[in-house]
Amino acid sequence: MVSIVLPRLISFEGAPRRAASVAERNVAALKSAYWVVLISGFFEPMLYLLSIGVGVGELVGDLTLPSGTVVSYAAFVAPAMLAASAMSGALAETTFNFFGKMKYMKLYDGILATPVQPFEIALGELGWAMLRGSLYSAAFLAVMVGLDLTSGIRALVAFPAAVLVGFAFGGLGMALSTFMRSWQDFDLMGSAQFALFLFSGTFVPAEAYPSVLRWVVEVTPLYRAVHLVRGITVEGGGWGELVDVLYLVAVTALGLVVAGRRMGRLLCK
């Protein structure tokens, strides 16, 4: 009996450690060229913030939110940029990089010959992606505080929210990647990502959309992400954001489980 139960127990207990060893591999693979990628990932949302938030904000002036709060356009757009950058950072790592490692580098074939299991690879890769994403989010929030677009306290609360957004999109991206057949399929995903970026209450309040469209928008993940982060940086957060948190946690879990299952099916034939 013991010999039957014990290996299971060990394999379960080792899961976080094994996932960490996958993340650790990425640290070893970090080479000087990577810093270029790292820095560009930070500047892109910053440029959006400055050009649209500050530039366009000059023309638009202040906005009155449904709750009655009046905000500058820059303060309105900044949290959306933060959520969008958490999304694109997580997606970049978990789609292109993940797919390349799985299909072309055959990296996971090697790893799966060790005690590491598919789900643990997914978890490790996502954890790694989030380490990088968290750096971006922290830097972006610091800039927001510096530009007086939110307060220090709110920025501290918004930080884990932004990390959660990254986790959700990372899990989603990884799950989607396991369905991709070639690089061409990623073009479709890029378009979907851009549509989300434009229509998730990013640049205009979702209340401005016709009601049918609004309903569609409100169930998309980026809308929930923007709603969460904006709710915190603009209004300090409240129970209204609980739905967003639950939604994003569910997406993360679903993404990881689907990714792990699909990887098992693809690689352990």
Binding site: S3, I4, L6, P7, R8, I10, S11, G14, R17, R18, S21, V22, E24, R25, A28, A29, K31, M105, K106, L107, D109, G110, I111, L112, A113, T114, P115, V116, Q117, L267, C268, K269
Partner: protein, 314 residues
């Protein structure tokens, strides 16, 4: 540490093991026993089902049917615990191209939960063992095929495995590189490591394997030590005759009664005999003048040809 639960020192036991891909049956009900400390081989041509079998044993491919026990454990349930004690050298190298030679070993050790310090020590020892110490800081890409193969073998040793699985360890290597790999594998065997390897080279099987099974079309067609297989299915010596002209067939009829068995291949005729030189003298006595004559000892290739009517490497 879970001790191996094995009967009579049997580390791998398969009964009626089957692997199907859709409608296609790649492994068609094989029985195998691999004992601790032996070097066990799967010999067969491409498509025989060797890799499919190795992947099932490596717990990265679930069996479709049949029983498989590895170190007394069930791959379907105890995959991670079994893989913790296996070393795997897959048919195609899947080294990490973003890491250096040394990092390939230390990082791989971490997947097994080996502490960093120990990983570094083992990496250094293993790089010495496979003669790659000078390339420790190099990326993997510029390495030659033989070097990559050796690095993959070193990687398979990083967890000090009880069983090492080697899928075609020397395919595609030049003769020198092959001999170096053989020599290293022989040393592992001497250290008491259980080796399971696949090959379609008879000389490799003869050199390395204590015992082997011959596979064809997903089935085992013979098993035993290289010597007993040759004794059972072949003769002591083989005479290879090549006749000038379009077909060898025309000459086959004139060789009646010269050998225990005659095999006619597109480019040559094989005479299975006890006394090769005697047979050659007899050929000449019949006024036949082959363009070339070769007398050699019988090999596993002949065993395979006898069992299946085909050669191993086409």
């Amino acid at each position: 540490m879970v001790e191996p639960v094995t009967r009579d020192g049997i580390l791998i036991q398969a009964r009626g093991l089957v692997k199907r891909f859709g409608d296609f049956t790649a492994v068609d009900g094989i029985d195998v026993d691999v004992r601790a400390g032996e070097a066990f081989g799967f010999l067969g041509p491409n498509g025989a089902g060797k890799s499919s079998t190795m992947r099932m044993v490596g717990c990265v491919s679930p069996p479709t049917d049949g029983e498989l026990q590895i170190m007394g454990m069930d791959p379907r349930r105890d995959g991670p615990a079994i893989r913790a004690r296996l070393g795997v050298c897959p048919q195609l190298d899947n080294l990490d191209p973003e890491l250096t030679v040394r990092e390939n070993l230390t990082t791989y050790a971490r997947y097994f939960g080996i502490p960093r310090r120990v990983a570094r020590e083992r990496a250094a020892e293993l790089l010495d063992f496979v003669q790659l110490a000078e390339r420790a800081g190099s990326k993997v890409e510029p390495l030659s095929g033989g070097m990559k193969r050796r690095l993959t073998i070193a990687r398979a040793m990083v967890n000090e495995p009880d069983i090492v699985l080697l899928d075609e360890p020397t395919t595609g290597l030049d003769p020198q590189a092959r001999h170096l790999v053989w020599e290293r594998l022989f040393r592992l065997k001497q250290q008491g490591v259980t080796l399971v390897l696949t090959t379609h080279y008879m000389d490799e099987a003869e050199q390395l394997c204590d015992r082997l099974v011959v596979m064809d079309g997903g089935r085992i067609v013979a098993e035993g030590s290289p010597r007993t297989l040759i004794e059972r299915y072949s003769t002591r010596e083989v005479v290879e005759l090549r006749f000038a002209g379009e077909t060898q067939e025309a000459f086959a009829g004139k060789l009646d009664g010269l050998a225990e068995r005659i095999e006619v291949l597109p480019d040559r005729i094989l005479l299975y005999v006890t006394d090769g030189d005697g047979a050659v003298a007899e050929v000449h006595a019949r006024a036949l003048t082959p363009a070339s004559v070769l007398v050699r000892r019988s090999s596993l290739e002949d065993v395979f040809l006898h069992l299946t009517g085909r050669t191993l490497v086409d």
